[in-house]
């Protein structure tokens, strides 16, 4: 095909502009499409080069940074568009070089080329094509907008195909943190770089708020316990200095009785507090788990299609479990340790400052070691967790796919795969073990050496009678009670790290906003009529790869619309726009004249019934599955809907009738039977709009007939969208919409489309050739 051939009309338009710059009206129209994204501030050197390049009265339209050089290296280039020319500038020795300067009048049309990881914009002239600019995906959205502006200026462009200025082409790009400009993680609105650990901890502790009283009692008992733990040291000093030294028998009984009562009281308080804190931890985690699951249910389909099931499960189970350990045990320990350390510190210095200073000598080493260890172990644990997640992901992948594994006799390979991942986990766990099995004994050594210092120095002082025996014994006792918490803080550090990481992952899910938001003040449509209108609806899952573009048609209430087209044409996506599994990017989907985005999600989905190709039955009885959408349905209603779905007869033949368990994934029933149960489910819901997504494509002809009958009952008086590959299923459709490459290729009745000799009639011929049995 020769692209130079231009249509007569466009030549005239092209000529018009040859006479000079664009008209004021044209300029105004273009100018409306521009904003800061396309009119960027330029470095001085580029600015001055542009000043030299352009003529007086020439109007600047677009100035944009691009990031790939013509040679295909990363590098800065600037694209300039004025009302007369198109230029590319490159920085050069503090100034700028004009690499390309194309008068707009020479350009017949523009061509935007979309590649893997990059793209290019070309200007097609009469005798050649010029590569105007190359860019990575980071700049692609802006260049795409430039392209749509430029198309308005090019005479050979198919002007009828204007789909508007495409301001929001592609789903929202990665949102960036307002503070640091980094891309935010998918599904999160919290920037992990700007998030403060303290804030995270505060948020975690915030979950204790409803149980304030318990937390306060727990805290108070911690203080009492700390004190009770320290008193015995004083008593021991008295034992040596006031009883054993002066041979004072009466004092001995005081010591024994007071120690006994302290031990008893301490034990009772410990029991009570331990149970209470366990309860508190469990309770808080129960709240979090519930909140997490509730939130998961709220999230949009996109979230689930991108995260692996195993990952989501791991957040609800593992991460939450880690938090329970922290809230029940970790927090208590931290509080007790933090209280004990300063108190012992004061006690030691009050008794003998010099000995105290020596006793505390190893403390800085322990503290520094702890800090260093915490950092290292955190990194290693991250890897351990990633391996854990990988392991559960492997499980979540292979168990549901077990039929495929078995039918291809690949059990050994799956086992090997699992073994590999398990092995990786083992290696990483060993790495972690290597670290802590080295660290803790080393710390133990330091403290033991510290105790030797106390014995040596303190002992010599006792021998020289510079201090009492009781004081020395008290010191050795308190010393161990001091190192314990300090050493514990090392453990604590990584326990907090564990907990915070888990908390972060849980909060990340909790902070994920549903992509399909419910509009504030959404409209309740108690009983919709079922008139559906698509107005220029466009959608894409990935930027730059439109799945649906400019879909427009109306389905009147009660009409049955057949959706036909090659796989990947966007049929399933189209119906998912209807019940808002996804939202349009541009255009609108209207039900009874209301944009679906304005309707209450619940009332919208309650009135749309869906029958899918692969029906999903929950673990439960047949009856429970039928009334899934209407839990309070009467037995009469359930039987009636099963009869309407042609399901009743086989259900009563099941061992326990309607109370038969479906088995996991409904494997006790055949595909056709499960399909009929799912149709009964849809009938019982009595929806106004019905979506049949390949509802009969996976069953045999006889079952298909039964299902067809059932569907015909279901379809009556409802707006129906039926997707089918077997075109025979659609012969009752009021109209058929043929989709191709995400666009509406044809619309009409079966007969009209057959006559028109388009895609539909081709498909029909193809199918009737394939199966002569089916009469048209």
């Amino acid at each position: 095909m020769d692209r130079r051939k231009s249509r007569p009309g466009s030549v005239a338009r092209g000529r018009l502009r040859v006479t000079g710059t664009m008209t004021e009206a044209e300029f105004q129209e273009i100018d409306k499409l521009l904003d800061a994204e396309l009119q960027q501030e330029l470095p001085e050197q580029i600015e001055s080069a542009i000043g030299k390049l352009i003529d007086d009265g020439e109007k600047r339209l677009i100035a944009l940074h691009a990031d790939i050089t013509p040679e295909g290296e990363y590098g800065d280039r600037w694209l300039l568009v004025t009302d007369r020319r198109l230029a590319r500038l490159a920085p050069e020795n503090g100034s700028a070089r004009v690499e390309i300067d194309v008068p707009l009048d020479d350009v017949r049309r523009f061509r935007l080329r979309d590649f893997i990881g990059s793209g290019s914009l070309e200007a097609v002239k009469d005798s050649e094509s010029v590569e105007v600019v190359r860019f990575s995906r980071s700049v692609a959205p802006q260049i795409s907008r430039v392209y749509h502006v430029l198309r308005r200026l090019s005479p050979d462009d198919d002007q009828t195909d204007h789909s508007g200025p495409k301001r929001s082409s592609g789903p929202p790009r990665a949102t960036r943190c307002a503070e640091c400009g980094r891309a935010l993680p998918r599904w999160s609105e919290v920037c992990p770089f700007c998030m403060k650990r303290g804030q995270l901890l505060a948020r975690l502790i915030g979950y204790l708020a409803p149980y304030k009283m318990y937390a306060i009692i727990g805290f108070a008992s911690s203080i009492v316990l700390t004190v009770l733990n320290l008193i015995p040291a004083y008593v021991t000093r008295y034992l040596f200095d006031g009883v054993l030294g002066p041979k004072n028998p009466a004092g001995l009984w005081v010591v024994v009785w007071s120690l006994l009562s302290i031990y008893v009281v301490r034990t009772i308080i410990s029991m009570g507090r331990g149970y209470m804190m366990e309860w508190l931890g469990g309770r808080v985690v129960l709240d979090m788990r519930t909140a997490l699951y509730d939130h998961l249910q709220m999230l949009s389909l996109g979230f689930f299609s991108r995260k692996q099931t195993g990952q989501i499960m791991s957040r609800v189970t593992n991460d939450i479990m880690r938090l329970q350990y922290f809230i029940a045990d970790g927090l208590q320990q931290i509080i007790i340790n933090l209280l004990t350390i300063p108190v012992i510190f004061i006690m030691l210095f009050a008794a003998n400052p010099k000995l105290a200073a020596l006793t505390l000598l190893p403390t800085p080493f322990i503290a520094l070691g702890t800090y260093w260890f915490g950092k290292l172990i955190h990194r290693v644990y991250q890897k351990v967790w990633r391996r854990w997640a990988g392991l559960s992901a492997a499980l979540a992948d292979s168990i549901p796919g077990i039929r495929v594994v078995k039918s291809f006799a690949q059990e050994d390979r799956e086992s090997a795969r699992f073994r590999d991942r398990s092995g990786e986990l083992f290696t990483q766990e060993l790495n972690a073990a290597k670290l802590w099995t080295t660290f803790f004994p080393a710390i133990g050594l330091i403290t033991s050496v510290g105790s030797l210092v106390v014995y040596g120095y303190g002992g010599s002082q006792v021998l020289m009678s510079m201090t009492t025996m009781g004081t020395l014994v008290m010191f050795t006792q308190l010393m161990w009670q001091f190192y314990g918490p300090v050493q514990g803080l090392g453990d604590m550090n990584h326990r907090i790290q564990h907990a915070l990481t888990a908390a972060e992952r849980v909060f990340e899910v909790l902070d994920t906003a549903p992509e399909i938001p419910e509009a504030p003040g959404s409209i309740l449509l108690p009983r919709m009529e079922g008139r559906v209108e698509f107005q220029n609806a466009s959608f894409s899952y990935e930027p730059g790869k439109p799945v649906l573009s400019d879909i427009s048609f109306v389905a009147e209430a009660g009409e049955m619309i057949g959706l036909v087209g090659p796989s990947g044409a966007g049929k399933s996506t189209l119906v998912q726009l209807l019940n808002r599994f996804y939202d349009v990017e541009s255009g609108q989907v209207l039900i009874d004249g209301h944009d679906v985005r304005e309707l209450s999600l619940r009332s919208l989905r309650q009135q749309i019934g869906v029958v899918l190709q692969e029906p999903f039955l929950f673990h439960g009885t047949v009856a429970e599955n039928i009334c899934y959408g209407v839990p309070d349905a009467t037995p009469e209603e359930i039987v009636a809907s099963a009869k309407a779905a042609n399901a009743h007869d086989f259900i009563v033949n099941l061992p326990h009738g309607y109370d038969t368990m479906t088995g996991e994934r409904g494997q006790l029933m055949s595909g056709g039977e499960r399909q009929r149960v799912s149709i009964a489910r849809a009938i019982l819901k009595n929806p106004r709009i019905l979506i049949l997504d390949e509802a009969t494509s996976s069953v045999d002809t006889e079952t298909e007939m039964l299902i067809q009958q059932a569907l015909e009952r279901l379809v009556a008086n409802r707006t129906t969208f039926a997707i089918a590959h077997r075109l025979s299923t659609l012969r009752k459709s009021s109209r058929i919409v043929v989709l191709e490459h995400g666009r509406v290729a044809e619309i009409g009745t079966h007969d009209e489309l057959l006559d028109s000799d388009g895609l539909y009639s081709r498909l029909c011929k193809l199918q009737s050739d394939l199966s002569k049995v089916r009469a048209w």
Binding site: Y74, S138, A174, T501
Partner: protein, 197 residues
């Protein structure tokens, strides 16, 4: 119509003792061979490639059949299982499948390399200056074979280990980067990388 999948299974099955092989099985094996034969992979020597003044890629096969305005697409870009290259027309339909493009004549080869540099822009990371990681989200500052680059990774899932030390990354904007062999990077880069995988 033969189902290639099944046949492949058949063919891949360990060949038992010759006595076991029924005639039917051998007949099917032959038909699978026929299927393989039918797979037309052009030898690079039969192909000439050039670009016209409208920047359209032309592919001339055997000096006779000419295809215009094609886009090259590597078939196994990551695993490099085979050096196949597909040529797609404007609608994404394959018009030719080429084997060993490195055996093309020098001009064609040079042009193809330039076109591939466009069509499959996946810079290879050669040195890592810094990775600032915050629980999966990370900012990478790297040197690639196409120059210096800073990019953001949104999610740990966007760092894919392809086996044998090969890594594929996708940044927040959808750009891709590759690390051919983690083991062959310098120690500093390796250490930074180690925390990410």
């Amino acid at each position: 119509m033969i189902n290639p999948q099944d046949e492949k299974e058949e063919a891949a099955a360990p060949a038992g003792p010759a006595a076991d092989a029924t005639e039917e099985a051998s007949a099917r094996a032959t038909s699978w061979d026929a299927e393989l034969q039918r797979l037309e992979i052009l030898d690079a020597k039969r192909v000439k490639i050039w670009r016209d003044e409208f920047r359209r890629l032309h592919v001339l096969v055997d000096g006779k059949t000419e295809h215009i305005d094609l886009k090259p697409a590597p078939v196994f870009p990551l695993s490099e299982a085979a050096d196949f290259l597909s040529f797609l027309d404007e609608k994404g339909k394959e018009v030719a499948l080429l084997r060993n493009p490195s055996c093309l004549d020098p001009e064609s080869r040079e042009l193809l390399a330039e076109e591939l540099n466009r069509a499959y822009f996946v810079p290879k990371i050669t040195y890592i200056y810094e990775i600032e990681d915050a629980h999966g989200a990370a900012r990478w500052e790297v040197e690639t074979n196409r120059g210096y680059r800073v990019f953001d990774i949104r999610d740990r899932e966007d760092v894919r280990v392809l086996g044998k030390g090969r890594l594929l990354l996708q940044d927040a904007d959808g750009n891709r980067y590759e690390i051919e062999d983690m083991g062959s990077l310098d120690e500093r880069s390796r250490r930074l990388l180690d925390a990410e995988v």
